[in-house]
């Protein structure tokens, strides 16, 4: 079960600075960040703020694959990233790319989901059990024998996510997961993330520009700007803080309206996360 408390964090970024080789400016400057077990965290900020670099530091691409000036450290579940082989990190940290096309490649959906498990050298029976389990969780059993390239974008994304979840990672990173999805498919993905978080206790870090999709399920938003963490807090704390728009965040209308009302001395008793919650507050006598 997801427990959300101030225990030893699952991910701890400690005084991390990084500059790519031959790059004149630092991509990350003294980043400090803790992510607790069971949290859902949105990582936000404008293009080029350092989000992608930070994620590369979490899954070990930096410093293992990218040379540069690296200071500070990242600890994932007790292991220091810079001293941990990438193969081991890949089992602890699942990474869903923006475009699932880049991630699925086998002849059938179930083979694709099993691919990571085969690499782990799990016994066949255990692989079968886990593949069936994740296909059930993600409602993709009917697709088991289909070739992945025939699937819709939303289905492909589920298959890629299933392959990640089957590895039982503690931490899953989603990089702009809804960008190719229609609005309904996007909100189904969001419900799925919430379900995996509640039922399996998986911690999620999600990079997303369309904040309105995720604010209803997120515990925290971490905002980066020019390679630094500049704000963090609950969605309400961050999105009703006037500074958030100066860091390039698209404030969902519900949050702007809440802040503007508060500023005019008409603060709603409860800060809403969705239009429906806001209407409830406004409809109350």
């Amino acid at each position: 079960m997801a427990s959300k408390g101030p225990e030893v964090p699952l991910l701890s970024v400690e005084g991390l600075s990084f500059s790519y080789l031959d790059s004149p400016r630092a991509a990350l400057t003294d980043v400090n960040l803790k992510i607790n077990r069971g949290e859902i965290v949105i990582l936000a900020g404008q293009s080029g703020c350092g989000k992608s670099t930070l994620l590369r530091c979490v899954n070990g691409l930096i410093p293992h694959m990218y040379p540069g000036d690296y200071k500070g450290r990242i600890v994932v579940d007790g292991d220091v990233v810079a001293e941990t082989p990438m193969g081991k990190l890949a089992q602890m940290v699942g990474f869903l790319f923006q475009n699932p096309e880049n991630q699925i490649f086998m002849f059938s959906v179930e083979r694709d989901i099993a691919f990571g498990l085969e690499n782990q050298g799990l016994p066949r029976q255990e692989m079968r059990r886990r593949v069936d389990e994740v296909m059930g969780l993600l409602h993709i059993e009917p697709l088991a024998l289909r070739p992945p390239h025939e699937l819709s974008d939303g289905q492909k994304q589920r298959v890629a996510l299933a392959g990640i979840i089957a590895m039982r990672p503690n931490l899953v990173i989603l990089d702009e997961p809804t960008s190719l999805l229609d609005p309904k498919t996007a909100s189904e993905l969001v419900s799925l993330v919430s379900k995996l978080n509640k039922e399996l206790g998986i911690t999620f870090v999600i990079v997303e520009h369309r904040l309105e999709l995720l604010t209803p399920i997120a515990d925290r938003i971490v905002v980066m700007d020019k390679g630094r963490v500049v704000m963090e807090g609950t969605p309400t704390e961050v999105l009703t803080n006037p500074a958030s728009s100066t860091h390039g965040l698209a404030i969902p209308p519900v949050f702007s309206l809440y802040s503007e009302l508060a500023e005019r001395g008409s603060r709603l008793p409860r800060a809403p996360l969705t239009p429906e919650e806001m209407a409830q507050e406004l409809n109350a006598p």
Partner: protein
Amino acid sequence: MTFVHQNGVKALDGVSLTIEKHELVGIVGENGAGKTTLVRHINGLLRPTSGSVLIDGADARGTSVAKLSRKIGIAFQNPDHQLFSESVEHEITFALKNFGFDDALIEQRLNWALDFFGLKEYHKSSPLILSGGEKKRLTLASILAWDPEVVVLDEPTVGQDAIQKAKLLEIARTLHSAGKTIIIVSHDVEFLWSLQPRLVVMKRGRVVEDGPCAVVMQERELLEDARVSQPQLVALYESLSRRPASPFQDVSQALSWVSGERR
């Protein structure tokens, strides 16, 4: 018109749609509804299996893609399918040279495009080193540089932060008020709501609704069926027990109504 893929899949099924000069049109619908297939017919990249596409009254079948492109610029969804040059600068000037623009004009347009889309620092770089959002901006820059009459944007806001989105809104509005015809395919209902285009809803290769954004976005069941969500301000409006005659266009409209109510 109808379009059947080589594998027999019917991507467009009896679509009839007229877009007038100077219109601003948004196209929404679920993944695979046929939106991208439809816009690829506009510059002749795809030819209909039956029916026809008329551009300025002339059958697109009789006109080459090159000729149609001068008039119609399409920025595709996936920039990797579009970018091919060795440098950002070349990417932008390629079409301009092909269309025979003179050097002074090319220079001017290049500078405008680099500046407007925040790509100046990369002008000598390979497009391959750009981030997803920057590549997307480069495809837009290279199309807008030749100043086509019709601008088609397929999912322009994907991977764009708030600042770039605001810029895209500004571009769309500016081009529209400068007399261009703008067609935008997008899943981003908040973006479309800010633009208030004529809205075309597609489902399974058909046009299922076509009308003003403010009207169509209130058709909850139809949208649900086409897997489109309502923008936050419309969802809020519809959940209010007392509300004005039409949904809030922006936060400040919502604010003045709500503050009035609470006084």
